[in-house]
Subunit: 500 residues, 2 copies
C-alpha cells in the first residue's frame, strides 16, 4: 500500500508542478511579460492546465483511489493519507463529471465573455455583455445539472469554492446578518461623519512601497520565501511552498489603497506559506476554502491593520514617511479616517460595515439567475433596485453598477459569498485567538506579531486543505460559521468611532 | 495528410509550450525567484522537461513521422512540411536513442558535478571536481557509443549543437586558423600597447543601463516583444516568438562589461524574434545551430559594436552619460581601448584576436578525453601546457585555468567549438552583407540599423532551424564555414589599430 500511496503522490506531484508552473506564467503575465507575449502565454497556460487536468482525472488516479480506499479506511480519519485520498477523490469526482467538451466550452465562453465585459464596462453598455452573460448563465445551469441531485441548483457552484457548504446555510447566515448590518449602517449614517480628507493628497509611491514592506516584514513575511511586485490588480500567488508572492498597486493620491491591499495579500500569503511541509505537491497543499482564505487576508487587513493598537505602533512611522501630509493629524483622527463608513457603489472600495451588503445582493441575483426566476436582460434593473434597497444609492450607470465586477465574465458563479463568509470567520477566529493569547492587543501595540502568526500557522495554515471549511471552523471555535462575532466586532468598533 | 500534419503539429505545440514554460521558470530562477524557491523550482522544471521529452519521443510522433514521410517526399525539399518532418525526425531519433535511465543519469551527474565544480573552483582545487568529471567523461563516451558507427567518437557530441558538422571539419578549419591567429597575436604583442585605462573607473549602473537600452533600441529591439533584466550571468531566453528576453549584469568599475554583453544578447534575441511565424510552436522555431546563433550575437557585439563607425555615432552620447570619465578621451583612443588585444587566462574576458585560441585548446582536450588519449587526472597539466603554448601564459591556479568554465560540470561536451565557429561565420556573413548593402558603413555611422537587421531576418532568422548550419552558410555566402573572412577582418582591423 505504501507503494500505491507513493504512486498516487508521484502523479499528484506532476499535477502540482504543472499547476504551479501555470501560476508562475500567470504571475509573469500580470507583472513583467512584454505586451505582445499575451497570445502565446494564453496557449502555454492552456497547455499546462490541460495536462494538469489530464493528470488529476487519469484512469490511473481513479484506480489508485479505488485500491487505496480500504487501506485508508483503517487509518485514523485525520491522517494525511486518509485526507489525501478523500480530497483527491473529491477533486477526481468533480472533474471527471464534467465532459472535456464542456471544459473547453467554458474556456471559450470565458475568453469571449471577458473581452466583451471589458468593452461593455468601458462603454458602460450592458447590452454588449448581455448575450455573453446569457451563455455563461446557461453554461452554469448545465454545469450544475451534472451534479444532480442537489438540494439547490446553486449548491454545485458554491461547492466549487466552499467544499461542503450549502446554499441554504449561506442564506440562513446572511438572513441573520443583513438586518443587523442595515441597522448599524443606519445608525452610523445618522451620526456626524468622520473626516478622512488627509488620506487623499500626494503620497510618493516609493515611500508607500517602503512603509508597506516595513509593515509586512514586522508581520513576519519572509522575503526569502516570497517577494512583492506591482500589478494592475493585487493578488497572491503560491508558486511553491517556499515561494509565495504578493503584488500590490499604488494610488499616489490615496495612501490607503496600497497599504491595506499589501496587508490583505500578505494574509493570503501566510496561509500558503504555513501549510505543513508533508502536504507539499498534493491537493492538500491549499487553503481549506476561499472563505477561510479570505478570513486570513481580512484578518491582517482589518482586524489587525485597521485597529487602534496597530496604529499606536505604526502611525509615528507613517508620519515620518509623510510628515507634510500627516504630521498634523493625530492618531485617533487617522484611525477614524481609515475606518470611515459610507455606503458606496463599488464593492472593492467598500468599508467593513457596508461590504457584506454588496455580497448579499450579488448572491441573491446569482441564485435568481440560476433558479431561472431572473432573466439576464432584467439584471441591471434588479441590481439597481437592490443597491437602492440595501445601500440607499442609485448607480448612475452600469459601469458603476452591474458591470463593475469581473467574476461573471470569467465564468465565476458561486464565488462572491466567500468574501462575506471570510469576514465572518475572521471575527470568529479573532475572538478565539484573543482568548488563547490574552495580551494580543498589547503585543500588537508593541509591533509584535509572532504569537499571532504562530497561532494561525498551528491552528489554520498547517492543515492546508485537509479539513473542510466548516469542519475547521467548528474545531477551532467550537461552532459553525456564525455572524454573531462579526456583528459584535463591528458594533463595538463603530460605537466607539461614531459614538453610537 | 493535412490531418496528420495537423496532428503532428498539435503534439509539437504541446512540446513547445512545455519547453518554453520551462524556459520561463528558468528565467525567473535567474532573475526574481526568492532564494528558498530553488528546490521546488528544480522539481517543476524537471517535470516540465520530462513531459516535453515524453511528447517528442512518443510512439504517436514516431508513427506520424513514418506515415508522413512518403507525403513530404513529394513536396519541395524546402517546404515547411518537409523540413518539419526532417528536423522532428532527427530530434526523435536522437532522443529515442538515449535510454530513459541514461537521461536520468545525466541529470544526476550534472547536478552533482555542478555542485562539486562550484566548490572546486571557489577553492581552486581540481581534485574535488576530478571524480565527477571522470564520471561525466565516461558518460559522454557511453553516450557517443549509442550513435555508433561514426567517423569520430566526438562527432555525436558535436552534432548535439551543430547538426551535420563533423569533428574532422572543425579540426581542418581550426588547423588553418590557428597559425594565422598565433602570428597575428605575435605581431600585436610586439607593437606598442594601447591604453584602455579610461574604461576602468566608476560608471554608475543606472547610466550604463540607460545607454545600453538606447543602443539596442536603435538596433531595433522591440520592447513590446522583449525586456531586459539583471542576472548574474547574462543570457537570452525565448519565452515565445513575441517574447524573447535578454539579461545583463553590471560592473560599476568597468564600462565595457554590460554594454558589450547587452549588444551580444540582443544579437541572440534578434535571431529568435526573426523566426518566421509559420514555424512557431514547432522544432523549426529555433536557431539553425549554436554556431549560427553565436554568429548573430558576435556580429552585433563585435562587427557592429566594436567598430569605428558605430562609435562615431554613439560615442558623443556615451560621453554625455559619463562626461568626467570620458570627456577628455577622443573617439579614436576610445575605439582603440575597447579593442585592446592582450593574451589572458579567462575565455569570457578574451578579446577578438585571442578568443578562438581559448576554444581550440578546449576542443583538443575534449577530443583527447573522448578518444581516451588523455585521462581526467592529467587534465590540469595538459590545460596549462596548452595555455603556455597558445597564449604564452601560465595559469597560477586551476580556478584561473581548467576550472574556469561551467560547461563540463553541466555535462556539456562538444559545445565549445560553436563559439569559435560563430566568430568565423559572423565575418563570412559580414562580407556578404556589405556586398548586398554597399553603404552599410555609412548607415551605421548615422545610427541606422534597419537595413542590417532586415537583411539578417530575411537571410538568416526567418529560416529558423529549417536549414542545417552548413547548408545555411553555403546558401548565403556561397561557401562552407571558412576562416579566411574572419582572419581578413582581424588583420585589417588590428593592422590599423596597432599599425602592423
Amino acid at each position: 500500500m505504501e507503494e500505491k500511496i507513493a504512486s498516487l503522490k508521484s502523479l499528484l506531484a506532476e499535477w502540482s508542478d504543472l499547476s504551479r508552473a501555470a501560476f508562475l506564467l500567470g504571475w509573469d503575465q500580470q507583472t513583467y511579460m512584454p505586451p505582445k507575449g499575451i497570445e502565446a502565454r494564453g496557449q502555454q497556460i492552456g497547455t499546462l492546465q490541460k495536462l494538469a487536468h489530464e493528470r488529476i482525472t487519469s484512469d490511473e488516479v481513479g484506480r489508485l483511489l479505488e485500491e487505496l480506499q480500504p487501506y485508508v479506511d483503517e487509518l485514523p480519519a485525520d491522517s494525511d493519507e486518509t485526507r489525501l485520498v478523500k480530497v483527491t477523490r473529491r477533486m477526481y469526482n468533480k472533474k471527471t463529471r464534467v465532459p472535456p467538451a464542456m471544459v473547453a466550452e467554458l474556456a471559450e465562453l470565458a475568453s469571449a465573455g471577458f473581452g466583451a465585459w471589458q468593452v461593455a464596462r468601458a462603454e458602460s453598455n450592458f447590452a454588449l455583455f448581455q448575450p455573453h452573460l446569457e451563455k455563461l448563465v446557461d453554461y452554469r445551469r448545465r454545469f450544475a445539472a451534472l451534479f444532480a441531485p442537489y438540494d439547490h441548483v446553486y449548491d454545485p457552484l458554491l461547492d466549487e469554492y466552499e467544499p461542503g457548504m450549502k446554499t441554504a446555510q449561506v442564506q440562513a447566515i446572511f438572513s441573520a446578518l443583513r438586518p443587523q448590518q442595515v441597522e448599524l449602517i443606519r445608525e452610523i449614517t445618522s451620526s456626524p461623519p468622520v473626516d478622512d480628507s488627509f488620506l487623499h493628497g500626494y503620497f510618493e509611491e516609493q515611500k508607500q512601497w517602503d512603509f508597506g514592506v516595513e509593515v509586512v516584514t514586522k508581520f513576519g513575511y519572509d522575503w526569502e520565501r516570497g517577494r512583492q511586485d506591482r500589478a494592475a490588480h493585487p493578488f497572491t500567488i503560491p508558486i511553491a511552498l517556499d515561494d509565495v508572492r504578493i503584488t500590490t498597486r499604488f494610488l499616489q493620491d490615496y495612501v490607503g489603497s496600497a497599504l491595506f491591499s499589501t496587508m490583505h495579500e500578505t494574509g493570503h500569503a501566510f496561509y500558503e506559506l504555513g501549510v505543513a511541509r508533508s502536504l507539499d505537491r498534493t491537493p492538500l497543499a491549499d487553503g481549506a476554502s476561499m472563505a477561510i482564505h479570505e478570513s486570513q487576508s481580512r484578518m491582517w487587513e482589518n482586524l489587525v491593520g485597521r485597529s487602534m493598537p496597530f496604529w499606536e505602533y505604526f502611525y509615528p512611522r507613517l508620519q515620518e514617511y509623510f510628515p507634510s501630509q500627516l504630521g498634523n493629524v493625530d492618531p485617533k483622527t487617522f484611525y477614524k479616517g481609515i475606518n470611515k463608513v459610507e455606503p458606496s457603489l463599488i464593492r472593492v472600495e467598500a468599508d467593513e460595515a457596508t461590504y457584506n451588503l454588496h455580497i448579499m445582493l450579488r448572491l441573491e441575483l446569482e441564485i435568481a439567475l440560476m433558479e431561472g426566476s431572473l432573466e439576464v436582460k432584467d439584471l441591471p434593473e434588479a441590481w439597481n433596485a437592490r443597491v437602492q434597497d440595501y445601500l440607499g444609492l442609485t448607480p448612475p450607470n452600469d459601469a458603476l453598477g452591474v458591470l463593475q465586477d469581473v467574476h461573471w465574465s470569467d465564468g465565476y458563479f458561486g464565488y462572491f459569498p466567500t468574501y462575506a463568509l471570510g469576514n465572518l470567520v475572521s471575527a470568529q477566529l479573532w475572538e478565539r485567538i484573543n482568548a488563547d493569547i490574552p495580551d494580543l492587543t498589547e503585543q500588537i501595540r508593541r509591533g509584535e506579531f509572532a504569537a499571532l502568526l504562530g497561532w494561525l500557522i498551528e491552528n489554520i495554515h498547517c492543515h492546508g486543505a485537509k479539513l473542510e471549511p466548516q469542519e475547521l471552523v467548528q474545531r477551532v471555535t467550537g461552532t459553525g460559521i456564525d455572524p454573531v462575532p462579526y456583528m459584535r466586532y463591528l458594533r463595538t468598533k463603530y460605537s466607539q468611532i461614531y459614538g453610537l
